[in-house]
Amino acid sequence: MHDFNYLRPKSLADAVAAFKNAGDGRYLAGGQTMIPVMKQRLASPSDVIDLSQVPELKGIAVNGGIVAIGAMTSHAEVAASKDVQAAIPALADLASGIGDPHVRNRGTIGGSIANNDPAADYPAAVVGLNATVVTDRRRIAAADFFTGMFGTALEEGELVTRVEFPTPEAAAYEKFLHPASRFALVGVFVARTKSGVRAAVTGAGPCVFRETVLEQALTRTFAANAVKNIDIDASNLNSDIHGSAEYRAHLVGVLAARAVAKAR
């Protein structure tokens, strides 16, 4: 790790200002990605801006069919939240399956989506539930937020403050564990909402995506059998020693069927 300045702003405005004043600033949330990357010297920011004392980034609120989760909310808090469990059980379930207890107690939703790891779990929920990412300067629709592998629509210094999830009629997330990292080798989030059925896939490709083949089939019948043996195009999917594109495509169908079966 290279030397850096450590800053701990006490408000949203101070955090954004700290970034502006820094030569090469980086926000620090749970540090579960950022610290290892800095230790490996793959990132060496001049200023590390710790978001842990920023009150505007905290808390979970359910209001008028919207579950708003502050960016600094840990995976463990989301998993344990009675409000989330009641409103969107699939989201609490997803959070409870991220990493291990250590990771869940440090890692945050803001950090996870800002990082947009191709195998991360949260992006599937954000896209699957058509959430809105709220930042210090605007509101970004899920469809526009994740732009590619580790890529997001966030501008230089833009800070995620919360994520707003509309409550669905029914939803579920199914994850097939990567045998080594236990991220998602493939993860599928399905949701039946007032505006239609959505199916988001993570892990399988370079970036989370909506699988229209699944959505069409599930729009016809929202039932496991509708997608169980469905043909998923493997041509844009990832291939590595843990799973070929073909295998990942197959898993998308299997997991979608399981998710539909348990959706509530």
Binding site: M1, H2, D3, Q40, R41, F176, H178, P179, A180, S181, F183, D240, I241, H242, G243, S244, Y247, H250, L251, V254
Partner: protein, 777 residues
Amino acid sequence: MLKPHIGDSVLRHEDARFLTGRGTYVDDITLPNQAFAAVLRSPHAHARINGIDASAALAISGVLLVVTGEDWLKQGFGPIPTKSAVNKKRDGSPLNEPPRHCLAIGKARHVGEAVALVVAESHAAALNALDAIDVDYEALPAVTDARKALEPGALLVWDDIPGNFCLDFELGDKAATEASLKASDHVVELDVVNNRVTAVPIEPRGAIASYDAKTDCYTLYNATQNVHANRDTFAEKVLHVPKEKIHHIAPDVGGGFGVKNGVYPEPALLMYASRKLGRPVKWINTRSESFVSDSHGRNQMSKVRLGINKDGKFQALYTETIGDLGAFCWTVGPFTPTGGSARTQGGPYAFKAMYYCSKAAFTNTMPMDPYRGAGRPEASFQIERIVECAARKLGFDPVELRRKNLIPPTSLPLKTAMGLDVDCGDFPQVFERTLALSDRAGYAKRVEESRRKGWLRGFAIAPYMECTGGGPKEFAGVRFQKDGSVELAVGSQSTGMGHETSMPQILAARLGIDFESIKYRQGDTEATPLGGGHGGSRNLELGGNAVHQAASEVIEKGRKLAAHQFDTDEAKVQFEDGHFFVPGTNQTMTMREAIEASFDPSKLPEGMAPGGLDANTTYERGVISIPNGCHAAEVEVGPETGVVRMVGYWVVDDFGTIINPLLCDGQVMGGTAQGIGQALLEVAHYDPESGQMVTGSLTDYALPRADTMPPMTIEYYEGAPTKKNPLGVKGAGEAGCCGAPPAVVNAVLDALKDYGVTHIDMPLTPEKVWRAIRAAR
């Protein structure tokens, strides 16, 4: 006050220290004025090094020293030789051994090979220096597959070693085996691969070297499993100093499994750097570096042929293996695919004839050294796979076929066709007990329950027979102190197995003294004059018997002292249960009293000095012993995804006398976990094009975790303590790795038998299982 017996599950004495973070590993040691080293490692699998420019690195503030291969050679330091017990080719000529210098000379031959050492005031400055060293690499094509390396025209890892060929080897009667195969009703043939793995100990390798100019001596703290032998190599072969000049200490070591047995370059580099700089130098390997600089294991490709008659009786076994050595012979690398895998061929089954031959090849990969079992797990996997394959092909019940061919106790002792001296044991009884434990009666119901949940259930049983190994001598020293404490120093070494418990337990049990009064010392060239360290399941067999022998010597001396006190003839004094006594009299004296008396000059017999009960002894092994046992596994396979779950596991082991069942269970569980890892998850995978290690981090190298493990039932068969050593022990450390891979793989194949799946190479990843199902459908 704790007075344990042999066979008691004494709780691990070391655990309070380990579990509360009070262990002392190398990285916990800080010497005054220490500097920090880091190693520049080759990013290429194969590259010519046209030059190294360290000027920018040396210009960084705090950077003290950069050592390159050229600098190293200029010092006149020698290469690290291999000590493989098999060191000749079949034609009698010596094996082809490339020079293994501590730093790459002229060329780098695997990703991770040490190219330069930097030393700096701080760890951070050392890392900055690494970034600043400019190495002019000319990348060359690499060969990473041993089979390809041996093909004619393969590119060469070493210009002067034709065909990448290190050595070949054979054991057994080739003509008789061929004749027996020919005469057999059936010959079943199978290609078996033992996948390349690495141990990933929790504590990475690391060392601190400190040179003292006043005495011209080095102190080396090192995360090693073998202080004596490795010191000798550093002193005599590399640095060319008398071995007495190196005080080699292994403090607490956090796991080894074989990868810390060998001689690595870094400690020698540190000793040189410390001398040059006049201050201690510390280095700790990172996890990422460990994957490409800790030795790897297994990676054997074998063709196995089994001759079997219509009645199911095995006739002959013929195994041909290609073993990968990586880029060097490393410490004992060539032994594993040769002698190490040959000796236990055929497992616990009776054969008329057996033949084993192998070739070992160099590749542009991290070199091989022992990994838990070092050849015996490979052999066990080979025989159990071919037996399962024969059962399926020829329509035998796999359990019945095994039962029919186990060596009966009435045949013991016997020498196998591989020359292994099997003295005692009861393979059929161990086998039947394992079967009984596994509740075969309830199996059909469990299969049905799994089926209802959408899972396929499979079962397999895998009897195994292996052998011990490692250094043939061990030292134990017992020193009594006036204050009542006892120091026990042994030359074998724990890297977490619990010697601090089992060894004092033996001493306390023999002498009838307080377990808590014993201070244990190990892993220190000044604590014992010799020591065989760790490896080959040798601790109880060598170290344990050395302690036993030392205790006997203490008792002999105590009898003299007691006779003097009782004013009687020494021959009349007996010792039992911690008491010296003369039968038929009321004369008695506890060991504790004898020890106290030994410090009172007025109570000593003629010729005994104060503290005269001390014993220093060396135990020497005659013949290696034969641990054996049986594993049985039940698995569930999800046909939709190919995922495998371990759902039941039963083990009965014959390790001879069990000193401490709790510690023994730990060995069996750990070995089984690593065996399950190899079977289902682990592979040190190299990209064939680039020669990069694809699974070079824990996000890609899949280790078994607690939730991978099934519930386990472990029992021991103690009806056959070996007479090869006084304690009657057979070695327990590596057995789990012998039984688990075949039990798991065969159980998965059993689950898939209705699909007609007969073979999948380890590791049985979900995708491979899914593909096998799909191909068979």
